[in-house]
C-alpha cells in the first residue's frame, strides 16, 4: 500500500525556470509570481514523499517529431536534463524508480491504458520547471526519485480531458497497490490559458483560469467533460495542456484539502497557476 500524500498542479513555462536560473526572481515582473509560490514551497519542503510522479509533455526536445505517444511512461534509472538548444539547465538530472515504473505500466496496461514505455528519455522544461517550482534550490539532487508520465498535448488529436481523468484514477489505483513506497507525490503540469501563435497570440482568459482552479479541487468531473475544441477556445491553443492537471487530480481522492492556490499573469506569454492539495483527508460519502 502506497499513499498519494499530495497533488501539485503548476504551470511549466520555460521562462519561470530561466528567471530562477538567472537570479531574476526578485525583479518587479517576477517577484509576485515567486511570492505566490512561497507558501506551497514551504509546505512541500515539510512533506517530502518517497517518490513522485510528474505528468508533463515534451516540447520537441526529448522525443523525435515522428513519434507521438498519446500517453507514455518513463522506466529509466535516470533522466538526463535535455539540451533544448541553449545548453542544459544547471539543475540535477532526475533519478527515476524503474521498479515503480514497471508496476504502474503493468497495472495501467491491464486496465486498458495503452501506454508507450520510454527506457531512455531526456526531460525538458516541461519536466524540470515544475521540479523547480516545487524545489527552488535542489542542490545536487531533487528531493526524491521522480517518474515521468508524458501526455500528447501538442499534436491534435490530444487525448480527451475525460480520458486523462480516467488515466489519473487508474494511476491512483495502481499506486495504492504498490508495496515499495510509503508516500507518493503527484504533479500535473502545464497551462494555464495561453496561446503562442496566430493573431490570437497572447490570449489570456482569467475567468476560465479561476474557474479551472476552483473546479480542479471541487468538481473535476466538470473539467473532464470539456471537449478539445472548448479547451482550445477557452484556454488558447496551448492552454489545452491543462488536461494534464486532470491526470494528477484523478489520482487523488474525491475530497482533498487545498493547501495553497496562486495565480499570476503573465509568466512570459502565459497565465501561471499553482494549486496544491493535501490528499490525507478523511473521506465522507
Amino acid at each position: 500500500m502506497s499513499d498519494v500524500i499530495w497533488g501539485l498542479a503548476t504551470s511549466h513555462v520555460p521562462s519561470i525556470g530561466a528567471a530562477m536560473d538567472r537570479g531574476m526572481t526578485d525583479q518587479p515582473v517576477w517577484a509576485p509570481l515567486f511570492e505566490g509560490y512561497q507558501p506551497a514551497r514551504d509546505w512541500l519542503a515539510q512533506n517530502i514523499p518517497d517518490v513522485a510522479i510528474l505528468v508533463y509533455n515534451d516540447h520537441a526536445n526529448g522525443v523525435d517529431p515522428d513519434i507521438v505517444p498519446t500517453f507514455a511512461i518513463g522506466a529509466a534509472e535516470r533522466y538526463r536534463v535535455a539540451d533544448e538548444g541553449f545548453g542544459r539547465r544547471a539543475v540535477p538530472d532526475v533519478v527515476g524508480d524503474p521498479d515503480l515504473s514497471f508496476h504502474l505500466l503493468h497495472n495501467l496496461v491491464d486496465e486498458g491504458f495503452d501506454l508507450t514505455i520510454f527506457q531512455e528519455l531526456d526531460v525538458d522544461h516541461g519536466f524540470t520547471v515544475p521540479l523547480s517550482v516545487w524545489t527552488p534550490d535542489p542542490g545536487d539532487a531533487w528531493p526524491c526519485p521522480v517518474i515521468p508520465i508524458m501526455v500528447n498535448v501538442i499534436r491534435y488529436p490530444q487525448p480527451t480531458a475525460a480520458r486523462c481523468y480516467e488515466l489519473g484514477k487508474a494511476l491512483g489505483r495502481a499506486i495504492a497497490s504498490y508495496q515499495g513506497a510509503r508516500t507518493v507525490g503527484i504533479l500535473g503540469t502545464g497551462g494555464m490559458s495561453h496561446q503562442l501563435a496566430g493573431s490570437r497570440a497572447g490570449f489570456i482568459n482569467v475567468d476560465f483560469d479561476l474557474m479551472f482552479l476552483e473546479s480542479i479541487e471541487k468538481d473535476p468531473e466538470k473539467l473532464a467533460s470539456l471537449s478539445r475544441e472548448e479547451l482550445i477556445r477557452q484556454a488558447g491553443s496551448e492552454g489545452i495542456e491543462l488536461i494534464m492537471w486532470l491526470v494528477m487530480r484523478g489520482a487523488l481522492s474525491e475530497q482533498v484539502a487545498n493547501v495553497h492556490t496562486a495565480y499570476h499573469v503573465p509568466a512570459s506569454n502565459t497565465a501561471a497557476g499553482l494549486a496544491l492539495f493535501d490528499n490525507r483527508v478523511a473521506q465522507t460519502d
Binding site: 523525435d64 501538442i154 501563435a197 496566430g198 490570437r200 497572447g202 475544441e229 488558447g236 506569454n269
Partner: protein, 119 residues
C-alpha cells in the same frame, strides 16, 4: 473525413494530422537545431541545410527569410519554429509581436497588462 478537420477558430493554429504532415521536414530541421554541431552546420550554409532536410521551396524561403508567419502556414509547429527563433536570439514574445502585428515591446506591455483578454 470531417473528423480530421481542424478546430476552426479564427487566429488559432491547430497542429493536426494534415498540418504535421505538411510541416514534417521543416519541423525535423528545427528539432535538429538542439544539437550544437548541427546548429553550426545550419548557420554555415542555411539553404544547403534546408535541402538536406528536404524542405519545399516555399519552406526554404520562409526559413531563409525568417518569415515566421509563413513557417506556421507551411506546417511549422510553434514549439519547433521557436528553436530557430532561439538560435537567432529572439524570444517567444518577439514572435508574439510578429504574429499579432505588434512590436515586441508593445506585445510585452500587453502581456504585463494582463494579456490579451479580448481576442
Amino acid at each position: 473525413m470531417t473528423s480530421q478537420s481542424r478546430v476552426e477558430l479564427p487566429g488559432t493554429y491547430v497542429f493536426d494530422g494534415p498540418t504535421s504532415r505538411r510541416g514534417h521536414s521543416m519541423n525535423k530541421l528545427f528539432m535538429s537545431l538542439i544539437d550544437e554541431g548541427l546548429r553550426t552546420e545550419f548557420l554555415a550554409d542555411e539553404s544547403a541545410y534546408c535541402a538536406r532536410f528536404g524542405l519545399s521551396e516555399e519552406q526554404t524561403t520562409a526559413v531563409l527569410q525568417r518569415d515566421w508567419q509563413a513557417m506556421l502556414d507551411l506546417g511549422g509547429s510553434i514549439f519547433y519554429v521557436y528553436k530557430l527563433a532561439m538560435l537567432d536570439g529572439l524570444s517567444m514574445q518577439y514572435l508574439g509581436g510578429v504574429f499579432t502585428g505588434m512590436s515586441e515591446d508593445d506585445f510585452k506591455a500587453a502581456m504585463l497588462a494582463g494579456g490579451r483578454t479580448d481576442v
